[in-house]
């Protein structure tokens, strides 16, 4: 009896000890437990507040837009930044010692760009610094210079540097646009091929014709443009060297010669030819001149574009009855339809990263630019205007330019690639169409 009682009490003691240990362990465990973890999976759905402080100037500056204004406009156009208007700034520092982070913090700014411009005998030199207001750190400090007649290039360059410092992506503000304008009276139309800065400034006409000019396409090095011109009375593909103005025919076959697209290495060109009776996709080796037929179908196959890697080909085919986007993993391989759910999906333009493909998409009676995630097949509409066409993606994949109508006139609009912000380029003259975003060149 006593023994059992003892053993019981011993057991009870053991029990208590065990419970104690468990509790201790529990506390240890709870105190040693992984500390609180908060996951942030979504960011602000708005533009980053950034203050571009007007640069201090020493020496005469060329007339026209100030460099800081151009930078502001660039950043605004990207849709990713929301520059603070200079009137709201509490101070106008031009170097680090003058930056009071608390002030900028109070103004809700995340970044502050300050700089100084010096005119050194016709060369404008810029010293600029970018600060992270919250971290109170300088994340960029450089100098750059340009001839005083080329301060826009200097400004775009600064925009690119700022953009890259903040986003980690190269900026595309120094790239060029090609587009076609149509002007003139009803009986006398003038088509002009333009090349301009991406803000539409400094536009130059490279070709003028009474006949339509279509589908300008940039060579990967940004030195040449391919396009379709009807100047000979029928569609012919030309390659136009921008520096010299020298033009060569890339395709002048009987029937249709259209929709030129450079390969990423610039060695070959995709095009649509109907020389064999039906519109098919061909690849022309620009070195050897050899032409290879990639599609062979009774339907129309056209508007080919290389994917980001230069391996596969997107194109439009109406083999299903209406235009849809198809993809072949390599030239000549069997094509796979990738768009569904709409009667009209055409003119695919992949981005440079292989993440998305953009195309003209009909919904109800409107035409929009849609973006398709190539991994998830998720399709989102990125433009809202209604008669949208000719999408072209910026080389960094962050912006998209397309043609649309505004007040009955064709205009070009730049949106951030997710459709967040829209920025319409000023119409230089007449109707603007067929934009093509040039590559980043260094």
């Amino acid at each position: 009896m006593f023994k059992s009682k003892n053993s019981r009490s011993v057991l009870a003691k053991r029990h208590v000890t065990m419970v104690g240990w468990l509790m201790v362990m529990f506390f240890v465990a709870s105190s040693a437990r992984a500390e609180l973890l908060i996951r942030i999976t979504e960011g602000a759905n708005s533009a980053i507040p950034v203050a571009v402080v007007p640069f201090a100037e020493s020496g005469a500056m060329p007339a026209g837009d100030k460099i800081s204004s151009i930078v502001q406009a660039d950043l605004t156009m990207s849709g990713e930044f929301k520059p603070l208007s200079p009137e709201k700034m509490l101070s106008l520092p031009s170097e680090r010692s003058e930056v009071y982070f608390r002030d900028w913090r109070m103004l809700g700014q995340r970044y502050v760009l300050v700089g100084q411009l010096t005119n050194n005998g016709g060369r404008v030199e810029a010293r600029y610094e970018l600060f992270d207001v919250n971290r109170e750190q300088r994340i960029l400090g450089e100098t750059a210079a340009a001839p005083q007649g080329n301060v826009r290039s200097l400004a775009h360059h600064i925009s690119d540097r700022v953009y890259e410092a903040i986003t980690g992506e190269p900026g595309a503000f120094s790239t060029k646009l090609a587009y076609v304008t149509l002007s003139g009276a009803s009986n006398k139309s003038v088509y002009r091929l333009h090349v301009s800065d991406i803000d539409g400034q400094r536009s130059t006409v490279r070709l003028e014709s009474d006949e339509p000019i279509l589908s300008p396409a940039w060579s990967p090095d940004g030195k040449k443009l391919a396009y379709v011109s009807f100047e000979t009375g029928k569609p012919v593909i030309f390659i136009h060297e921008l520096a010299t103005g020298k033009r060569t025919k890339a395709a002048d076959f009987p029937g249709l010669n259209s929709a030129p697209a450079w390969s990423p290495d610039g060695q070959s060109m995709l095009m649509t030819l109907s020389k064999d009776g039906n519109a098919e996709i061909y690849e022309k080796n620009l070195v050897s001149g050899k032409i290879t037929k990639l599609t062979n179908h009774w339907a129309i196959d056209t508007e080919a574009a290389w994917d980001h890697a230069g391996k596969g080909v997107f194109f439009t085919s109406d083999q299903s009855g209406g235009p849809q986007i198809y993809y072949m993993e390599r030239p000549g391989a069997e094509a796979r339809r990738i768009t569904f759910g709409s009667r009209y999906n055409a003119r695919a333009r992949p981005d440079s990263k292989g993440e998305y493909v953009y195309y003209v998409h009909q919904r109800d009676r409107s035409f929009h630019i849609a973006r398709r995630n190539l991994k998830t097949d998720e399709e989102t509409i990125v433009t809202r205007t209604g008669t949208d066409e000719s999408p072209s993606v910026s080389p960094n994949g962050r912006m998209l330019i397309y043609a649309t109508e505004q007040g009955g006139e064709g205009v070009l609009t730049v949106v951030s690639a997710d459709g967040g912000a829209a920025y319409s380029l000023p119409a230089s003259e007449g109707e603007v169409r067929e934009p093509a975003w040039g590559p980043i060149t260094r």
Binding site: G43, A44, D418
Partner: protein
């Protein structure tokens, strides 16, 4: 109620004086004895035996014979009778003497004359008297003798009676003694039995007590255990409730912080969905940021910086006012930036 019943039963038993009563009485006695304690080493005061009349006789027989009352009465009568006779005899003698004197006086004249005769007669009388006296004496002796004889007889008879009675008494005594002995023996046996039973009872009682104690101890222990368990559970429940409250608070403030940071974070253009930056931040109880360290880089400087910038952009973190909750969850915690939905 029960007590009342018992009282009634007792009354009945007393009035009945039946064996049941005896038995009950005995039991009651045992109970009383039991209640009075266990001083069994002292002999129990025995009740006086009732069946034996020994009390009427003096407990120690006297060596002198006891005269019966009747005998004494008879004796007295005899003595009275004898006295009477003596008195009568004396009376008659006195009268005779008186008559003699008278006759002598009357005869004085003739005294001389008669003196001789008288003397003769006197002589004769003396002789007669002497003779009568002798006769009386003989008679008395005979009577006395008879009396003594009777007395002796009587005495012998009384003695016999006494002896008989003594014998009877002795026998009674013996009987009584025997009975007493037996009673004692029985009593002793009973006592022994009782003692044995008592011992047994005690043993059992002790055992029972022990068992009870053990049971009590066990029950107590169980009770204690239960109590401590209950207390533990109660405390655990309280702790849990507190914990839950803290967790609820914590979750609330986590959500607030998450919201604020989500609004403050600008994932850079170069961000991809698989980028993860982990930052450990330490806060002051006021919600002010005390420090932040990048504990795990995304591999993309712009991404890391965007996270750091976001964390530093909040002037004051929403933190619970409850100090424990703050210390537990928000003094130091990790924020993970990982865009699931890119623009």
């Amino acid at each position: 109620m029960k007590g009342h019943e018992r009282v009634t039963v007792n009354k009945d038993s007393i009035s009945l004086k039946s064996p049941v009563a005896m038995s009950l009485g005995l039991h009651l006695l045992i109970v009383v004895v039991a209640l009075a304690g266990w001083s069994w080493t002292n002999p129990v005061q025995e009740p006086e035996p009732r069946s034996i009349s020994a009390r009427l006789i003096s407990p120690e027989p006297k060596p002198s014979p006891v005269v019966d009352e009747q005998d004494q009465r008879d004796d007295a009568q005899k003595r009275e009778l004898a006295a009477e006779q003596q008195r009568k005899t004396a009376d008659a003698e006195r009268k005779k003497a008186e008559q003699e004197a008278k006759r002598q006086a009357a005869e004085k004249a003739a005294q001389e004359k008669a003196r001789k005769i008288e003397r003769e007669r006197k002589q004769q009388e003396a002789q007669a008297r002497e003779k009568a006296e002798q006769q009386a004496q003989a008679k008395e002796a005979a009577r006395k003798k008879a009396e003594a004889e009777a007395k002796e007889r009587e005495r012998q008879k009384a003695e016999e009676e006494r002896k008989r009675q003594e014998e009877a008494k002795r026998q009674a005594e013996e009987e009584k003694k025997r009975k007493e002995e037996q009673r004692r023996k029985e009593e002793a046996e009973r006592k022994e039995e009782r003692a044995r039973k008592e011992a047994e009872r005690k043993r059992k009682e002790a055992e029972r007590r022990l068992r009870e104690q053990q049971l009590n101890a066990l029950a107590e222990e169980a009770e204690k255990a239960r109590e401590s368990e209950a207390r533990r559970q109660r405390e655990a429940a309280v702790a849990k409730a507190r914990e839950a409250q803290m967790l609820t608070d914590s979750e609330k403030y986590q959500a607030l912080i998450r919201d604020r940071l989500a609004q403050a974070w600008y994932p850079p253009a170069s961000a991809t969905e698989n980028m993860v930056a982990r930052l450990q931040i330490t806060l002051l109880p006021t919600g002010e940021l005390q420090g932040v360290t990048l504990v795990s880089s995304s591999g993309n400087t712009a991404f890391d910086n965007s996270a750091l910038s976001a964390v530093r952009s909040l002037n004051r973190y929403p933190v619970p006012s409850d100090r424990d909750t703050f210390e537990r969850y928000f003094r130091k915690f990790t924020i993970e930036f990982n865009p699931k939905r890119l623009r």
